[in-house]
Symmetry: C2
C-alpha cells in the first residue's frame, strides 16, 4: 500500500548502521540485513580476545537499537547475490526488491592465499574469532601448568602475533599485560612472566600509517612491556607447531593473525572492478559505476582520498560514508543534487597498553598516558553514539577502568580438548 521507497542496507557495521540511523524516522522504508544479530564495536574486539571484556560489552542486538524506529526493519540473514538490473537482492531461495541498495558488507581476515594457515592462526574480525583466541590464550597457560615436558611448555608459552598494524600492536601489548601482570600470581608450576610474545612485521616499522617517531615510541614501549618486536621479517609458514619468521622457526601453540583483510563476494556480486583487496572502486558519490541507486561504503569500498591515497578502513571513515549516502538518497528523493563525498580525516590513533597510546592528528602528535586517555575518551564518545543510555556508559567505563581481565572464561564444548 505504501508508495515509500525501499532502501536495503546489507551489513550492520559502522557504515551500515550509520545509513540506517540517519534514515530512521524519514519517509523511506529501511531494511537492514546482517548475517549476525549484533552490531560489533570492532575497535575493542581485541579486548575480548585478551579477556578484558565480555562480548556483550562491545556488541548489541541490531534490532534493539532500532526498536523504536518503525520505518526500520531488521533481518538476520545472509545475502548470496544481487540482481542489479532487476533491483533485487538474493538470499538463498528468497529475494527482496529495493529502490536503493547500500552494500556495507565489510572485510574479513585475509591470509593472502594461504587459507590453510587459518586453523593455526585465527584472525580477529568477529566475536567467534575473538572468543576462540581467548580460549587458546587461556588454555595455553593451563596446559603449560599441567605439562611435564619442557619443549611443550616452551611452545605453549610462545605467543606470536603476525602483523604490526594497530590490531597487531594492541594484541601484542594486551597479551604482554595478561602474561606479565594479570596472571602473574595465578600459577604454581609455571611463571606466566616467562611467556615470550613475538610481534612480527614484514615492513620496516610498526604502525605504517603513523609518523616514524610514533612508530619508534610504539616499538620501544612494547619492548619495555616484554614484547620481542621483529621488523622486516616475512612469515613464510604457519602450522599447529609454530611459525617460520624470517629464518627462525618459532615453536608456538598460539599464533594470531593480524596481517590483513580482504573484501569477499562483492566482485562476484557486482561484476565491477575491485582493487587488490577486493574493495569495489566507487564513483565520487560512493555509487557503483553504472548504478546510481547502488552504493558501496565502509571497508568494502575503495574510495579515493586526495591524489594518491584511499580512505582508510577505520570507523570514523565508515560512519562519514554512511551519513553521506543516507543524505544522498534523501537528496535523490527530493530531486536535489549532492556534492561528491569528501573524507575528513581526524587522525590516526592506536593503543599499545594501559596508559600507553599514540595519536597523530594530521601532524600534531601525542603519545603516552595523555594519548591513552584521549583514546579512551574517543572510544567512549563513539560508544555513546551506538547505545544511548548514559548509565550503560558509566558501567562500561567503570568496568574498563577497574576490572582487570574479568572475562577469563574458557567455554565451549571443546574447552578441554588437547592441542
Amino acid at each position: 500500500m505504501s508508495e515509500r521507497k525501499r532502501v536495503v542496507v546489507v551489513g550492520a557495521g559502522f557504515a551500515g548502521m550509520s545509513v540506517a540511523k540517519k534514515l530512521a524516522g524519514k519517509d523511506v522504508d529501511v531494511v537492514l540485513i546482517d548475517k549476525r544479530n549484533h552490531h560489533l564495536f570492532q575497535p575493542l574486539l581485541y579486548q575480548v580476545a585478551t579477556a578484558d571484556l565480555s562480548p556483550a560489552e562491545i556488541a548489541w542486538p541490531v534490532r534493539s537499537i532500532f526498536s523504536r524506529s518503525a520505518n526500520v526493519s531488521v533481518f538476520m540473514g545472509e545475502v548470496t547475490g544481487i540482481d542489479l538490473d532487476g533491483k533485487r537482492i538474493i538470499g538463498g531461495d528468497r529475494e527482496l526488491g529495493y529502490d536503493f541498495l547500500v552494500l556495507a558488507t565489510g572485510a574479513v581476515t585475509s591470509y593472502f592465499g594461504k587459507n590453510h594457515w587459518a586453523r593455526a592462526a585465527p584472525g580477529l574480525k568477529n566475536i567467534s574469532e575473538a572468543t576462540d583466541i581467548r580460549k587458546r590464550l587461556l588454555l595455553a597457560f593451563e596446559r603449560a601448568e599441567n605439562s611435564e615436558d619442557e619443549a611443550e611448555k616452551r611452545k605453549l608459552l610462545n605467543f606470536v602475533v603476525v602483523g604490526g598494524g594497530p590490531t597487531g600492536v594492541e594484541m601484542a601489548g594486551a597479551i604482554a599485560e595478561l602474561a606479565k601482570q594479570a596472571l602473574s600470581h595465578d600459577f604454581r608450576r609455571i611463571d606466566p612472566r616467562d611467556a615470550n610474545i613475538i610481534l612480527a612485521e614484514g615492513g620496516p616499522k610498526l604502525l605504517a600509517a603513523f609518523p616514524d617517531d610514533l612508530s619508534d615510541y610504539t616499538q620501544k614501549s612494547l619492548e619495555t612491556m616484554g614484547v620481542d618486536v621483529r621488523l622486516g621479517q616475512q612469515v613464510s609458514d604457519i602450522t599447529v607447531e609454530g611459525a617460520k619468521i624470517g629464518d627462525d622457526f618459532i615453536p608456538s601453540a598460539n599464533v594470531i593473525w593480524a596481517a590483513g583483510v580482504e573484501v569477499p563476494d562483492l566482485k562476484d556480486w557486482t561484476e565491477k572492478p575491485v582493487d587488490r583487496g577486493g574493495r569495489v572502486i566507487v564513483e565520487s558519490d560512493l555509487s557503483l559505476p553504472g548504478y546510481d541507486n547502488v552504493f558501496v561504503i565502509g571497508d568494502a569500498a575503495h574510495v579515493k582520498w586526495g591524489n594518491d591515497q584511499t580512505v582508510p578502513g577505520i570507523a570514523p571513515a565508515a560512519k562519514q560514508q554512511g551519513k553521506y549516502v543516507a543524505g544522498r538518497i534523501l537528496d535523490v528523493l527530493k530531486g536535489q543534487s549532492t556534492p561528491p563525498f569528501k573524507y575528513s580525516h581526524a587522525g590516526n590513533l592506536a593503543t599499545i597498553g594501559r596508559h600507553r597510546a599514540v595519536i597523530d592528528l594530521n601532524g600534531f602528535k601525542i603519545k603516552g598516558w595523555l594519548a591513552w586517555w584521549i583514546w579512551g575518551l574517543a572510544h567512549i564518545y563513539f560508544l555513546i553514539g551506538i547505545r544511548a543510555p548514559a548509565l550503560v556508559m558509566v558501567q562500561w567505563v567503570w568496568s574498563y577502568l577497574f576490572r582487570k581481565k574479568g572475562a577469563r572464561l574458557i567455554t565451549g564444548s571443546d574447552a578441554q580438548s588437547k592441542p
Copy 2:
C-alpha cells in the same frame, strides 16, 4: 621436601570451593582440580540462558580466586578414576597421590535414560548449555520474523519447559519476560507477545519442595505472565519437531529440559552404594564408607537429613558440607574427633520473575516483591562470598537492576545454521 599432607579436591563448585577456601592458608597442601577453568554461580545460570547476564558476570576463573593463597594449586583437567587403596587419583595417563580426597564433582542433566532427547532439549547445568539455550531462544524469534510459513512460525514461537522445579519455573518466567516485554517492540512481522510458553510438570504441583499455597501462588503468577502451566502431564517424547506432553503433541523448536539431574562416574570410581540419582551414600562425617580419608560432598552426595529426608542439592547445603569437611580434615591432622555433620536448613527460595518470588523459611512464608528483594539480597550475599571486591558487586547489582536483556548475542560458528 614438604611433609605437609596433601588434600586433593575434585570439583570447583560451591562444595569444592568451600573446602579449598577454608583450607587456604592452613598447614596443608590443597590441589583443586576442575575440568573447567571457572567457578560458576549456578543459581543465576538461567539468566545467561535468557540473555539477562553475560557468562563472565556469573563465573570467575578458579585460579584467580586463589591467586594469593600459596598453599592452593589449581589444575584444569579431568579426573578419570581413583585408586582408593593406593591413594591416587587418575587423569588419563597421569596420576596424583593424596592424603585426603574430597569428591565434589556435582551433578549433570539427566534424561532418565532418554539420552536421545538431549539434542532437541538441552539442559541447563553449565555455561555452554546456557549459551546454547540463549542462541536457540534468540534464533527462534529471528527465524519466525523471516518465515513465510505459518506452521513453521508457530513451531518457532512455541517454547516448552519440562520440569516444574525452581529451574523450570525460573526459565518459564524469564522466557515470558523476554517475549512479552524485552522483545515486544523489536520485530516488524511477528509479535513476540504471541509466543506460547508451556511449563510441563509430571507431578501435581509446581515447586514440590514448597508448601501448597506458595506453589499455587507460583502457578497463578506464571499464568498472569502468560505461561501455560500443565500439571500432572508426562512428557513421553521429544524430537526436533516438538514434545509430546500428556495427550498433546506440541510442535516446538524450543524445548528446554529442567526435569532432573544425576551424578555421573562416582559409582564406577568408588564401587560403593549410590542412590537412584547416582549420589554416593556417605557416612555421618561425609566420608566414603570404608575410607575415612575420602569425602563426598555437595550434589554428588546422598546425605541423610532427619529421619526420612536427604540434604537438598542447593548451594547453602554444599557450602556447609565443604566447611564441615575442611574442619574434619584439620581435626584429623590435630588428632581430634569431630561431631557428625548436621545440616542446617535456612529455607527454600525460588524466583518467578522480576518482583515475584517465593520463600519458605521453615514454615515462615513470604511471596511477591518482598520475597523477590530478599532473593536478590541473598544472592548478592552469596556472590560477595566468592568474589571479594565490593566494587564488582556494585557493578553486578547495577547491571542486574538496570540492564534488561543486555546479553542478547547470537554467537558461535553455527550462528546462522537453519533449524
